[in-house]
Structure formats: structure tokens, C-alpha cells
């Protein structure tokens, strides 16, 4: 009687596929996970993510094949609760937190998650970016009151960071989004520059460098400095910055950068600032690291049409793959249409090329939520 599992192959979008499966309640089978690789099968962080998924759900069945190249996942119900998870050092906590943010609002109870490991590594979203740039996206869908506290910062490779996320808001379904009229003007740029186990001066140098690049925009810029000391500075030295360009209506663009080996704080600051400008230049409502969460939240909505404006640069391979995964899971498709100029003499003529993505929600209801 139960529908057969959805088949995927390959290891890309591993997290997203599991998330979609959990939200839709359909079993999935992922095979050929790095089957041609020198080290075949699941990586430690992927297994760790599966463990975390098992912890926040009830009744999930995870079967990993002997070689680790195939996974069968039968999702249970999202129950949340108070969970502590040790993340492997190969990925930052953002790798685990980003998908969990999508699940937690549709669970049975509130989620209080403590993640231990690397707080930002330049590959996965840093904790500051999640707080300042990802939470506002959720607020747009009526999912509020998220709290993220950085108890300890942990730079790669040794990590030692600790983050506590409290997600108290459990909703039936996200509200339908309508954001397809015009790209909002940016009113301010904010950011956090942080360092662990290095001279506090490096933070100021990052800030100076970033402001140097951003001053050309003429936008009000303020970057906070967060110098972790003693206990709260993890095990490795490191520094980085997370920048957010905010609009008045709550949308934001973000970019972040961390110091690599042999890099000066100036390099890091300038790189982040330029990346931010690049993201802003794409146009649309969101930047590339927010778009996946946004699309998923739009899909699991009421059976109404929601719209969002996306820059051309934001629509990339990952985006296409996500839409295809969504189609195999729910059978729903999106419509992408070029945004026409609001009026003929609009100055958007040589502005970014933008597209309106209209999505009909799948009529999702959080069925685990208890009746009042």
C-alpha cells in the first residue's frame, strides 16, 4: 500500500534529498554514492547528518549498504526536542544546521539543538550568516523567534566551537510568499568580523578592508567585531567575516569569507566585500546561499501561487537540481518567467536580469503538530 521509494543516484544534494523526503514522508533510496571514487560510499559528515536526522525524527529507518554506496531512508515523523550533536570536523555546523532549520518548524515540538564543531569554514554557511541572513528568510514565511547563540567559536581545522539553536516556533505550514514586484533597495550593510586565537587587531584590519571596498557604494556600513577569548575561542586560530546587505523590508544579501593559510586579514575582508557586491549585482530578492531554503519553503505551502523575484545569476545548477528533486518528490513544477520592466522608462534597462519564479504550494500540512 505504501508508495515505492523514490530513487536517486549520486551523492550531490544529499542533505536536500533527505530533507525533501522527510517533509513529504516518502521513502527514498540513494544509490551509487561515490561508487567510482577512490573512497567509495558516504563521508563521515554525511553519516553524521543521517544520525542527526534520526535524532530529530521518530520512527525513521536508515539502511546503509555494506559498501556505503547506497542508502535507504524511510522518514519518520519530526519530533524535535533537546538534542546535542557532535559534528565531524570535516564540515562546519552550518552543514547540519541549514537543513535542520527547514525541518524544525514542521515538527511536533520545539527544537533546542546544540551543535559542536567548526563554526564556519568557508564552504558551509557560517553561524553568523545563518543568524543574520537565513533567519530573515524564515521570518518571511511566518516562522519566527529563532535564536542562535554562539557559545564558543571554533575555527578549522580543530574546531572546538559550540552553537545553541533554539527554534520554538512550530507552524502548520509556511505562509505564501509574494515578493515579485521589484528588487528592494539596500539600506545598510552590516556584518560580523571574528577571530579566534589570533591578535584582536586582525579583526579591525578585516573591517577596514571590507569597508574600503564597500565605501564605493555609498551605503551605510557597520561591521561588528567579535574577538573570542579564552574558553570561547575554540582550539584553532582563525578569523573571518560575514557581511549582510539589508533592505528595509527584511530581505538581505550575504557573503562571508574566512582566512585561509597565509592570507592576511585584508584579503579576507576584501574578498567578502567583493563577494557581497557580486551577490547584490545578481539582483532578485535573495542571494545564492538563501535560495534553496526559500524555494523549499515556498513549495511546502498552501495550494496557492507564491512568487519571488530571482536574479539570473542566482539560477544555477544547484537550483535546477533542486527543482528536479522537488518534482520527483511531489510532482510539482515551478514556472520561471522573465520579469518585465514595470514601466517603459524604468531604469532597470541595464540592471540585472531578473526572473519571476512562481510556485504553487503542494498543500503541505504539518501533520505531526498536535491538535490544540
Amino acid at each position: 500500500m505504501v508508495a515505492p521509494p523514490v530513487l536517486y543516484s549520486g551523492h550531490e544534494d544529499f542533505r536536500m534529498r533527505l530533507i525533501l523526503a522527510t517533509l513529504s514522508g516518502r521513502a527514498i533510496k540513494i544509490d551509487r554514492i561515490r561508487s567510482d571514487d577512490m573512497e567509495p560510499g558516504l563521508k563521515d559528515y554525511e553519516v553524521s547528518f543521517l544520525r542527526l536526522l534520526e535524532a530529530i525524527t521518530n520512527g525513521s529507518v536508515i539502511e546503509i549498504s555494506y559498501t556505503g554506496t547506497a542508502v535507504v531512508y524511510k522518514p519518520g515523523l519530526i519530533v524535535n526536542g533537546a538534542i546535542t550533536h557532535n559534528c565531524p570536523l570535516s564540515r562546519a555546523v552550518g552543514y547540519f544546521l541549514e537543513p535542520i532549520l527547514l525541518l524544525a518548524p514542521f515538527g511536533k515540538a520545539t527544537l533546542s539543538l546544540t551543535l559542536k564543531g567548526v563554526t564556519s569554514n568557508g564552504i558551509d554557511l557560517g553561524v553568523d550568516t545563518i543568524r543574520t541572513a537565513l533567519f530573515p528568510i524564515y521570518n518571511k514565511f511566518g516562522i519566527m523567534r529563532q535564536e542562535l547563540r554562539v557559545i564558543k567559536r571554533g575555527a578549522p581545522p580543530q574546531g572546538g566551537g559550540e552553537v545553541n539553536v533554539f527554534l520554538p516556533h512550530v507552524v502548520l505550514q509556511p505562509t505564501t510568499l509574494h515578493a515579485a514586484v521589484k528588487t528592494p533597495p539596500i539600506v545598510k550593510i552590516r556584518g560580523v568580523a571574528y577571530s579566534t586565537r589570533v591578535s584582536p587587531a586582525s579583526v579591525n584590519r578585516i573591517i577596514e578592508a571590507a569597508r574600503g571596498v564597500l565605501s564605493a557604494t555609498g551605503c551605510e556600513t557597520f561591521v561588528y567585531s567579535d574577538v573570542a577569548r579564552g574558553e570561547e575561542s575554540g582550539k584553532s586560530p582563525g578569523f573571518g567575516v560575514s557581511l549582510v546587505a539589508e533592505t528595509r523590508s527584511g530581505w538581505c544579501y550575504t557573503a562571508e569569507s574566512i582566512g585561509g593559510p597565509g592570507e592576511t586579514p585584508e584579503d579576507v575582508g576584501e574578498r567578502a566585500a567583493r563577494a557581497l557586491l557580486e551577490e547584490i549585482a545578481f539582483g532578485g530578492m535573495v542571494c545564492r546561499c538563501q535560495v534553496k531554503s526559500l524555494i523549499v519553503l515556498m513549495v511546502v505551502g498552501k495550494e496557492d501561487i507564491g512568487k519571488v523575484l530571482l536574479g539570473k545569476g542566482v539560477i544555477d545548477e544547484g537550483f535546477v537540481r533542486l527543482l528536479r528533486d522537488i518534482k520527483t518528490m511531489w510532482g510539482t513544477e515551478v514556472r520561471i518567467k522573465e520579469q518585465e520592466a514595470l514601466d517603459e522608462e524604468d531604469e532597470q534597462a541595464d540592471g540585472p536580469e531578473e526572473y519571476v519564479v512562481s510556485i504553487k504550494g503542494v498543500g503541505f500540512v504539518n501533520s505531526t503538530k498536535k491538535a490544540a
Binding site: M1, A179, G218, C219, V362
Partner: protein
């Protein structure tokens, strides 16, 4: 923010007449009765508040599906007659027998689907879930019956649709007074069941097999103006009532294995939300969960006049010349009506049964055929030949050209295989076939489309074609020539004449090449997105028009795909044995590690965003709303002069806070300036004036834009965003929001073409669709009975898994039996009907869920069972059996309730009391035996609280080493070593509900009303004649309690002497002297003696009187008892007689129903 005010209304002039109250002291006359005023205000507010409903989205499309009108009632109440009468009223069509749903057009924009509900619990449950309007048939002469009450109670938990009561058989009342009284009684009973003021129709007798026209007309009118409120479940699910079911399994497969799973098509109107286009999961109650393999939209078999009018306006069909009664459409494929039926698999023509009467031939055709039948000689034998057309000559030779047409050769056996699409143009019109062939083709093509509309277009095209034929005989047709003629045959001419290929595919490559040559190909992302054979990387590359390594030479997508994958490996030469890289599995390196932060190329970014030459930066400036900028920057900008003509549009901005507008050049420009290009500047000085003007205009525009942006922010709702407006109530705001969302949806969907729309939205309500389902058990088709409704209800993704449901449940107060934990019950929840085993629990002050043996009386309790997960707040009802055989005449709805919570595991505990006895008691310590069997068990309960029967609390301390299972416990007081103080340990034992989910597969049975699932233990015992096993310990025995004697408290002297004075026990010494009372002697005498004597006599007399009176009374009593007994005997006799009569009547009623159609019974009036 704008505030909307009411339009100004002129103040009404106060009348000049001054009343006394308008005097100085206005306050004195303000309110005469404040309490009453308050009450009135409160009441009016209450009334207003009651009108509010939770705002619910109405998803009814513009062209709504037919209203499902269910006719429900016990057998013999005239359901079939009512449907016949109504159908007759709407269509002037008399149905002889009704099988399955009947759809009729009832108004300009409304269609009705009538469906009769059989007298069967399964049908009643299914119908209750889909009916929009219920016509509740009540035998007026008999009153409400159990089925009616059951149906009403099924309706309630599944969302109440509209209900109209219809009483029939009112002609059987002999006196008007009884009729009136009976009507009133029925009406009030209905009101208590439905709502006060529910409409009840009274139908008198049947005339000509129908109810009186006037009464039917009234009912029809009432139905036509009825409005329907969306119901929650139906607003979230799509469903359809199958009005046609066809088995399309390959006959050879069936022949090979008659029990093979069948592939069937189901037809019906979509209701509720749109039906997903791909692999929708559905539940068919009575069969189970299934996957739809294919959905296809078909032309509406029963369109409303409004829809037709709209199609005429859009030019889809031709306008009808006149409207006659025949056009009042009826669609009932399973009954005996209908004309031509078209679908993908076949075309069916109903030729009618009684249309032709021999000797009364109507038209030329009939006469011709009859003439031919009566002809003495066989065809062609006469030698005269056949003249097919009046103008043509007689045909003598018969050339057999084509054998392909099945219809002609098989005669009336009907078509067995799918009809091949054939082109009108092409070989069938080879001119050498002659005229006769064309006439022949015409008939065939015609039945594919709507007859009237197409005929004309066809004949026109034929005419032109014939004309052409005459002109150039033997010349081949070119497609392009015929296209203009064949506009109406889009579906036909897409097929290539000989190969059957799609024509548009034929020279795709050439066309694509042309496209490519003429201009840069621009891909539509919407199309590319879901072409699975193109890898996401290619999609993006192509869409962004980046160079692919392979040039897009040919347009065929498959070819492109091959080329591109070739090109990847192409660099390494033509190594045949090279391992093929699968692009979809190994994407670019960046994706391999599933990163979120995109990869940036530092060098590119550096070039782009830094340095004075950054045009990108300049163009980005318009995106920022600059506030107070840094001083140096301001100065820089302010000091800058106007510059070259090619001033960037985004170079200027405005300082909003100061209100000062600054025309800024980009940094780049300034730098250029500073390097000293003065000569250019001087050149441009003349145009300064002009430029200033231009800039001023720009600034103004910019300012307006920013203001506008600030005002409206950026949500898509524009000016009339409900959030922005002020509404009186929350309710109004919600309603406005819903309306707005509806408009957005509509606008968005209207933009799409129908194919895209179906893909994105699905098949929306009101569309007539054909659903193909593979793998349906063959029993469904073999035992198909159209009188049992077949419903296809879509399932949400989350409803497709099993788990534990926690429900709030209450035994129905009319249900006779008590519900017991672990007894199987059939639930009707969501679309499904299934048997499961619930455990009833109660919450012990929210600390635990304690199992109950039985449902409590008149109270809700919690139930937990295994089943498909349905969202909380969904209502359900439960029955113990759905089989008609098991019906005892008692009320069958066992319980109703709602879902509270779903989960994959549950925690239910059962109370467990362990009992032990003390065998050695020290002061507060005692040794207990008989509670545990081993020291290990004791160890588990160390520290647990125990209690004696008398209420002394204690704690388990430690297991004793010697006798296994004995332990030491301490108590708050010394316990007694007797039967009274046994030791009790209260523990909680976790239990799991049994995982039974058994869908009711009634539609797969031969006798669909007799489904039987798992039986109750009691039923099995009863059938097998087994007795309930008795545990000896559970037997009740009389408890003999010896009276306990407690000796008086004695305090030893030694202690007493030591006690302080306060605590001294006051004890008196026994008296030694005799008291006065002991000493005196009493002797009677004098008056006292006389008095006593007197009293003695009086009492004797009195006693005698009383005795006599009592005797008399007893005599009377005996007589009275005798009379009472006689009366009782008489009453019992009368009741027996009544009962006999009642069951005689009842038996007749049931007997009729069981012997077939309800309405056929012979009614006996009580004469």
C-alpha cells in the same frame, strides 16, 4: 498609510420640534434603562458574532464541477422514483433503471450529479464524504428509521453537507389531522437532528411512476438556488466520483491468466483541489491505495450552457441555431441513456432500443433500409446496380479497395481495439478511389467530434477539396495546402498519413538549423528545467547562452544531449573503451562536496569590483539607498562637477535625510576628471544648462521611486495589499487576504497555456478526466456493480504512511454495546475505511496514558490505534461491523471522534499491582514475601513505594539473601501481620497497541454489503461454542470478615505512675457504697395503680382495634393485587399483539428491500 473614510454624508437636519428631553439636563434623560440597553447591546453583539465563520478559502473554479446530490434513505422510501422524477424534470428524459451516477444540466451554470445510496454501511460512509447535497428520504407514514439516523451521524464527523429532508408516502394518511400532526412531528425530529429550520419537503403519492410535477418543481427550484460552503477535508483533497469504468487490460493477458491484475480507466469530474498530473496517490474506498498512472482531460460530456456560450465566443465551437429540449443534456453512461460517447479508447454510439418500429418508418434512411431488408433479390443480383447519390449513375462494379475498417466488417460486434487516428488528407483521398470513398470517410470522422459543429466545417472543407480534386486529378497533396482547410482537425492532421508519426517531428532538425542560423538561439529556462536528459550544468550553460563545446547544430534535444556528452569525452580522442563519465552523477567539482557558499573566482571579482574602472560598481549604485554617507565621500561627490555626456544613469543619488539632492558622478568619472581632462570639460560647458535640466528630471524621478518604494516596500500584492489596509475586524482582513490570493492565482494560471497549467496546477475541479490505474485486483472488474459508488480520493504526501493515531473518541450514546480495548473496530477516517485495534486510554493528570478496559460512559477518552496517518483535527466515525448480515437493527455507529496526534510510537501503560505479605515484623521494618520471585526483581524495585491496605506507606529496602524474592521494607508505622495489611506495590506496565491495518475491501466482493474483517473474540467463541476461560482467582467469593475485637487500652501501672500529670489517665475507683437507686424499694398504690390499670385497659382495646383494621386492610390488599395482576396480564397480551403487528409490517418492508429495488415493493395500506 492611507485611511479609507466613509463617503461623507450630510448631517441630517434635526427636527425643529424640541422635545422635553432636550432641556438643560440632558444627562438625566440619556438612557432610560441602562441595564436593558446593555443587555440589548450584548445580545446584538452575540448575534453578530454568531454569524462569523472561520474564513475558509473557496477553491471552486469558475466552471464548477457538478453538484453531487446524494439521495439517501432506507429501502422503500422512493429514492429511485425521486431521481427519476428530477431527471425527468431537468431533461424530459425518463430513465428506466438507474445504475451509477446520473449527471444533468440544471441551470445556466450548474450541473447536478444524482447518486443513489444503497442501504449499506459502506455506501453510506462513502457517499457522506463526497455529497454536496443530501436528499434525505423519509417514509412519512413510517417515520425516521435507523438508517437515517445512522447516516446523519456519519455525516457529522466528515463535515456536514447541506441536507434537504424529503418525506414520501404521505398519501397513505387517511385523515388530514393525523397527516398534519405527523408532518409536524417529522419536521421537529429533523430539526433536532440537523438544525432548527431545516427544510423538509412533503411528497404525496406517486403518479405515473413519478412524484407530482408541482412538488418536484418546488424541490428543483430549491436545489437550484442552494449555496454550498466549502468543507475542510474536501478543500484539501481532490476526489472524483467515477461515472464510468472500463477495463482496458489486453484481452490476451486476461485469456492467459483470468486473475491477472487489471488496468482500468475511470472517468469522472474532478472535485475539490486540482488532481496532480503526475503519479498521484489515490485511495479508492473499498479497494485500497493506488497510484494513478495516467490522467487525461476529456471534453466535457455534459457542458453547461454558460460554458458552451463561452466556447462559442472563443471560437472553439459553432453557435447553435436554436435550443431545443433535446439539448438539455443528461450524462449517465452506466444507465441506459446517452448518445455518442467519445474517449481515447473507443467511440460508443447508443443506437437506442425502441426508436424503430416496423411499419412506422420515419425517415428516408429507415425506409431505404427496410426496403432493402424486404427486397426479394440479393444486392446486385438484379443487375440494376446501386445508386448511392442522387446525381450519380448506378454503380455496377464493386471494387474492394480497403479492408481496414473494422466497423464495416465486424458488423455490430463493436470495436475491440483502439481506433487508429487517420488523416483526412493523404492517401485515403487518392482521387482514383472515387466519390464513394469520401462519403464513407466522412461518417467515420464525424463521430469523433461534436456532430453539429463539425459537420458544417467538414462539409466546407470537403467541398473545397472536391473542387481541387476535380481541377488537378492525380496530383499529390501537399500538407501546406491542406492546412488552411483543416483548421478544425488539428488533432487529426498531426499524424503523418502513412507512418502515423507526428508531423511536427518530421523535419525538426532542419527547422532547428534554420532557427540557429537566423539568430542566436534563446532557450526558455521553463522548458529546459525539466528535461531530465539534459544535465543541470548544460541547462544553465544553454540558458545563459554560454558556448557549449558542441555547437547547437541540430535542434533535436536528444541529439544535443548526445553531442554534448560526446564532446566531454571528445577531447581525449575516440577512445571506445574509455569509461563513460555520467555527467548527471559527477557534476562540477564545486558541487561534489555539497557546499552552500558559492565558489568565487577571486581574480575576476577583484577586477570587477575594484579600481576606478569598475563599471559594475557604477551600475550597482542604483541599488543602494544611501543614507548619511561618510564625510569625505560626500565632499568628493559634492565637489565633483558635471561630466561627460555618457553619464551613467545610476551615477546619481540623493541624500534623503537632508533632502538635498546630489548628482553624483561615479568615482571613476571623478578620477578621470582629476587627471586633468580639462579640454573636454570646456567643450561640454555649453550643454551644462541642458544637462542640469536633465539631471533635475532624473533626480525627481529617483526621488519618486524611492518614496514609492518606501511606501509599498516590496511584496507582490501591490497597492491593494490587504496587510496594508485597515480593516474593522480581523475577520474582514482575512477575507480580503483570501480574495486577493485567489485573484493572484487566477491571474497566474490564466497566463499559462492549458498544458503548462495542467502540469503546474494539475487537473482542476470541474474538468472531466479519464484516469488510468494499473494493477487493480481483477475482482473489482469481475464483480463491478454500478449501484455502489466508486470514489477516487487523492492522498496528500503525508497521508501515505502508517503509524499510530491518537484520537479523542466517544462511544455513541445510542450504541448499545460498550467498546472494549483490543477489540477490532472499523474506522472511517479520511477517505479510508479500515479495521484496526484500538486501545482506549485516559490521561492520569497528564503524567501518563493509562489503559482502560472499556470506553467510559458519556465521556470522551483517548484511543490509540495503528493506521494511516491523517492530519490532526480530522473527524472520524467507527462501526463494529459493516456487514448487513451482522446488523441487528440496533444503532450501528459505535463511536465518533477526532484525531489528536500522530506518531510512530506510543507510550501507554497498564496499571499493575504486585501483592505481598509480611511474614516478620519488627518495629517499622517488615520482611515481605510473595511479591517477587528473585533477588534481581527486587533489585529493580529497590526504593519503590509500597503501601498496605490500611494505608501505611513504606519503601522497598533490600532483597533478603535467603529465601529468593523476599525483601525487607520499612514503613512509617508498625504494620500488622494479618490478612488486612497485605503489601501492595503499584507499578506501570508499558503496552503496545497491536499493529493491525485492514482496509475494508468491500468493492472486491461479490456481495459488497457483506464484508467481514477480523472478528471479536466473543464472536468467535460464540460461533465455536466455547466458554470464556475463567481464572480461579478472579472468581467472586463472599468475603467473610470476622469481627475484630480490640481489647481496651491498658496502661501498665509502672508507666502510668511515670506519666506527667497532664497525661495522667483519669480513672475512677469503683464505688463501694450502694447508691440511692439501688437502695430504694418501689411499691405501687393509690392513684398510680388505678392509672396503670386504666392504661392497661385502654391499650388492650386499642390493640384489638388495630388488629381488626389490619385484617381488613389485608383483605382489600389481596383483592387489589389480584386486580393488578389481571391488568398486567391484559397489558402484556396487548403489547404482544402490537409487537406482532409491528414486526409483521417491518418484515414486509425489509422483505421488499432484500428482494431487489426498493421502489418495486407492493405497499399495503392498513385497511
Amino acid at each position: 498609510m492611507e485611511q479609507e473614510n466613509k463617503a461623507h454624508r450630510a448631517v441630517r437636519k434635526k427636527s425643529q420640534k424640541r422635545t422635553v428631553h432636550n432641556g438643560q439636563n440632558a444627562r438625566a434623560f440619556a438612557v432610560a434603562a441602562p441595564r436593558r440597553l446593555e443587555r440589548q447591546a450584548r445580545r446584538s453583539h452575540d448575534v453578530k458574532e454568531k454569524r462569523f465563520h472561520v474564513p475558509m478559502v473557496d477553491r471552486t473554479p469558475e466552471e464548477p464541477p457538478p453538484v453531487i446530490v446524494a439521495v439517501v434513505g432506507p429501502p422503500g422510501t422512493g429514492k429511485t422514483t425521486l431521481i427519476k422524477s428530477l431527471v425527468r424534470r431537468y431533461t424530459k428524459h425518463t430513465l428506466s433503471d438507474i445504475r451509477g451516477p446520473v449527471t444533468v444540466v440544471s441551470g445556466k451554470r450548474r450541473r447536478l450529479t444524482f447518486v443513489e445510496c444503497a442501504n449499506d454501511m459502506n455506501s453510506m460512509i462513502d457517499i457522506a464524504k463526497i455529497a454536496d447535497l443530501v436528499l434525505l428520504m423519509i417514509d412519512g407514514n413510517f417515520g425516521f428509521e435507523m438508517e437515517t439516523m445512522e447516516f446523519l451521524n456519519i455525516l457529522a464527523p466528515h463535515g456536514f453537507p447541506r441536507i434537504l429532508g424529503v418525506t414520501t408516502h404521505l398519501d397513505l394518511f387517511k385523515s388530514p389531522a393525523t397527516l398534519r400532526a405527523s408532518k409536524k412531528r417529522l419536521k421537529h425530529r429533523l430539526w433536532t437532528e440537523v438544525y432548527k429550520g431545516a427544510k423538509l419537503f412533503y411528497f404525496s403519492g406517486v403518479m405515473n411512476g413519478r412524484y407530482p410535477d408541482r412538488e418536484i418543481l418546488n424541490l428543483a427550484r430549491f436545489i437550484s438556488v442552494m449555496k454550498f460552503r466549502p468543507l475542510k477535508w474536501r478543500n484539501e483533497h481532490s476526489y472524483l466520483l467515477a461515472d464510468r469504468i472500463v477495463d482496458i487490460t489486453h484481452p490476451a493477458d486476461i485469456e492467459r491468466n483470468p486473475k491477472i491484475d487489471r488496468k482500468i480507466t475511470l472517468y469522472g469530474y474532478v472535485h475539490g483541489t486540482p488532481l496532480p498530473a503526475h503519479n498521484a496517490r489515490v485511495h479508492v474506498p473499498g479497494i485500497g491505495d493506488l497510484t494513478v498512472s495516467e490522467v487525461e482531460r476529456l471534453p466535457d460530456p455534459c457542458p453547461t450552457p454558460y460554458q458552451e456560450k463561452k466556447e462559442v465566443e472563443e471560437g472553439k465551437i459553432k453557435r447553435r441555431k436554436r435550443l431545443d429540449d433535446r439539448l438539455k443534456v443528461i450524462y449517465a453512461p452506466m444507465s441506459d441513456v446517452g448518445g455518442v460517447l467519445i474517449d481515447k479508447d473507443a467511440v460508443y454510439i447508443d443506437v437506442g432500443h425502441r426508436s424503430f418500429v416496423e411499419g412506422e418508418e420515419k425517415g428516408v434512411g429507415e425506409r431505404l433500409v427496410v426496403g432493402l431488408q424486404n427486397a426479394q433479390t440479393t444486392l446486385g443480383a438484379g443487375g440494376a446496380g446501386i445508386r448511392l447519390f442522387s446525381g450519380a449513375g448506378a454503380l455496377n462494379e464493386f471494387k474492394q479497395e480497403r479492408v481496414e475498417d473494422d466497423d464495416v466488417h465486424k458488423g455490430d460486434t463493436g470495436r475491440k481495439v483502439r481506433r487508429e487516428g487517420r488523416s483526412i488528407s493523404g492517401e485515403s483521398y487518392d482521387t482514383d478511389l472515387g466519390n464513394d470513398d469520401e462519403g464513407y470517410d466522412k461518417d467515420e470522422d464525424e463521430d469523433e467530434d461534436d456532430a453539429d459543429a463539425e459537420e458544417e466545417a467538414y462539409s466546407k472543407s470537403m467541398a473545397s477539396r472536391l473542387a481541387e480534386d476535380d481541377e488537378d486529378q492525380g496530383e499529390e497533396f501537399v500538407f501546406a495546402d491542406s492546412d488552411s482547410d483543416l483548421v478544425d482537425y488539428d488533432d487529426v492532421d498531426e499524424f503523418d498519413a502513412d507512418s502515423g508519426d507526428l508531423r511536427w517531428k518530421s523535419n525538426l532538425a532542419d527547422r532547428a538549423l534554420n532557427d540557429y542560423k537566423t539568430g542566436r538561439r534563446k532557450w526558455d529556462i521553463g522548458k529546459l528545467l525539466y528535461l531530465d536528459h539534459i544535465s543541470p550544468e548544460d541547462v544553465i550553460k544553454r540558458w545563459k547562452s554560454e558556448e557549449l563545446s558542441s555547437t547547437v547544430e541540430d535542434g533535436d534535444e536528444d541529439d544535443i544531449e548526445n553531442n554534448s556528452s560526446d564532446s566531454e569525452t571528445g577531447d581525449h580522442g575516440d577512445d571506445f573503451f574509455k569509461k563513460r563519465e555520467n555527467s548527471s552523477i559527477h557534476p562540477a567539482d564545486a558541487e561534489v562536496i555539497d557546499r552552500t557558499i558559492p565558489v568565487y573566482d577571486d581574480e575576476v571579482l577583484k577586477d570587477k569590483w575594484s579600481g576606478a574602472a569598475s563599471t559594475a560598481l557604477a551600475s550597482l549604485k542604483g541599488r543602494f539607498l544611501t543614507g548619511q554617507t561618510d564625510d569625505d565621500e560626500d565632499d568628493e561627490i559634492n565637489s565633483s562637477d558635471f561630466d561627460s555626456e555618457d553619464d551613467e544613469e545610476f551615477g546619481d543619488f540623493e541624500d534623503l535625510e537632508t533632502g538635498e539632492a546630489v548628482t553624483g558622478a561615479s568615482a571613476q568619472k571623478e578620477k578621470e576628471e582629476n587627471t586633468g581632462e580639462e579640454e573636454e570639460e570646456t567643450l561640454k560647458e555649453k550643454s551644462y544648462e541642458k544637462e542640469r535640466e536633465l539631471n533635475a528630471r532624473k533626480k525627481e524621478k529617483l526621488r519618486l521611486r524611492f518614496e514609492e518604494e518606501e511606501e509599498q516596500e516590496d511584496d507582490g500584492l501591490g497597492d491593494d495589499d490587504p496587510e496594508k489596509k485597515l480593516y474593522d475586524t480581523w475577520h474582514d482582513a482575512q477575507k480580503a487576504k483570501i480574495t486577493k490570493q485567489r485573484e493572484i492565482n487566477k491571474a497566474e494560471f490564466d497566463e499559462m497555456d492549458s498544458v503548462t497549467r495542467e502540469r503546474i496546477e494539475g487537473y482542476r475541479a470541474g474538468q472531466y478526466v479519464r484516469i488510468v490505474i494499473d494493477d487493480i485486483p481483477c475482482e473489482f472488474i469481475e464483480t463491478l456493480d454500478p449501484t455502489f459508488p466508486v470514489i477516487i480520493g487523492s492522498l496528500l504526501a503525508s497521508e501515505d504512511r502508517l503509524g499510530f493515531l491518537q484520537v479523542r473518541i466517544k462511544r455513541h450514546r445510542w450504541h448499545k454495546k460498550i467498546l472494549k480495548s483490543n477489540d477490532p473496530v472499523i474506522f472511517s477516517l479520511g477517505w479510508r475505511r479500515f479495521q484496526s485495534i484500538p486501545i482506549y486510554t485516559t490521561s492520569d493528570s497528564r503524567t501518563r496514558n493509562r489503559m482502560l478496559k472499556y470506553t467510559p460512559e458519556h465521556l470522551h477518552c483517548t484511543g490509540t490505534f495503528y493506521g494511516p496517518l491523517i492530519a490532526p483535527n480530522t473527524g472520524f466515525c467507527a462501526v463494529q461491523s459493516v456487514a448487513n448480515k451482522a446488523a441487528t437493527g440496533a444503532f450501528r455507529i459505535a463511536a465518533t471522534g477526532i484525531v489528536l496526534d500522530v506518531d510512530q510510537s506510543v507510550q501507554i501503560v497498564k496499571k499493575l499491582k504486585l501483592v505481598g505479605t509480611p511474614y516478620k515484623i519488627f518495629k517499622n521494618t517488615a520482611f515481605i514475601q510473595g511479591m517477587f520471585n528473585s533477588a534481581l526483581e527486587v533489585a529493580k524495585f529497590e526504593g519503590a513505594t509500597v503501601k498496605t491496605v490500611s494505608g501505611i506507606r513504606g519503601q522497598i529496602k533490600r532483597a533478603l539473601s535467603k529465601p529468593e524474592g523476599h525483601y525487607r521494607a520499612t514503613f512509617e508505622d508498625k504494620i500488622l501481620m494479618s490478612a488486612v495489611d497485605i503489601i501492595i506495590l503499584r507499578a506501570w506496565y508499558p503496552i503496545q497497541p497491536r499493529k493491525l491495518y485492514n482496509p475494508v475491501t468491500s468493492l472486491l466482493l461479490n456481495e459488497k454489503t457483506e464484508w467481514q474483517g477480523m472478528r471479536l473474540t466473543g464472536e468467535i467463541r460464540h460461533e465455536k461454542g466455547l466458554s470464556v476461560p475463567q481464572v480461579k482467582d478472579s472468581d467472586y467469593t463472599t468475603i467473610e470478615r470476622a469481627v475484630r475485637r480490640f481489647n481496651p487500652l491498658r496502661v501498665p501501672n509502672s508507666i502510668r505512675s511515670g506519666l506527667p500529670f497532664k497525661s495522667q489517665i483519669a480513672m475512677m475507683k469503683p464505688q463501694k457504697k450502694e447508691t440511692y437507686l439501688q437502695k430504694r424499694a418501689v411499691v405501687l398504690g393509690g392513684t398510680e395503680k388505678r392509672k396503670r390499670d386504666m392504661m392497661q385497659k385502654v391499650m388492650t382495646i386499642r390493640n384489638e382495634q388495630v388488629r381488626k383494621r389490619q385484617e381488613k386492610k389485608n383483605e382489600r390488599k389481596v383483592a387489589y393485587q389480584k386486580k393488578i395482576a389481571e391488568d398486567e396480564e391484559k397489558r402484556k397480551e396487548r403489547e404482544r399483539k402490537d409487537k406482532r403487528e409491528f414486526f409483521k409490517r417491518q418484515g414486509k418492508k425489509r422483505g421488499a428491500s432484500e428482494s431487489g429495488g426498493g421502489g418495486k415493493r407492493h405497499r399495503v395500506s392498513d385497511e
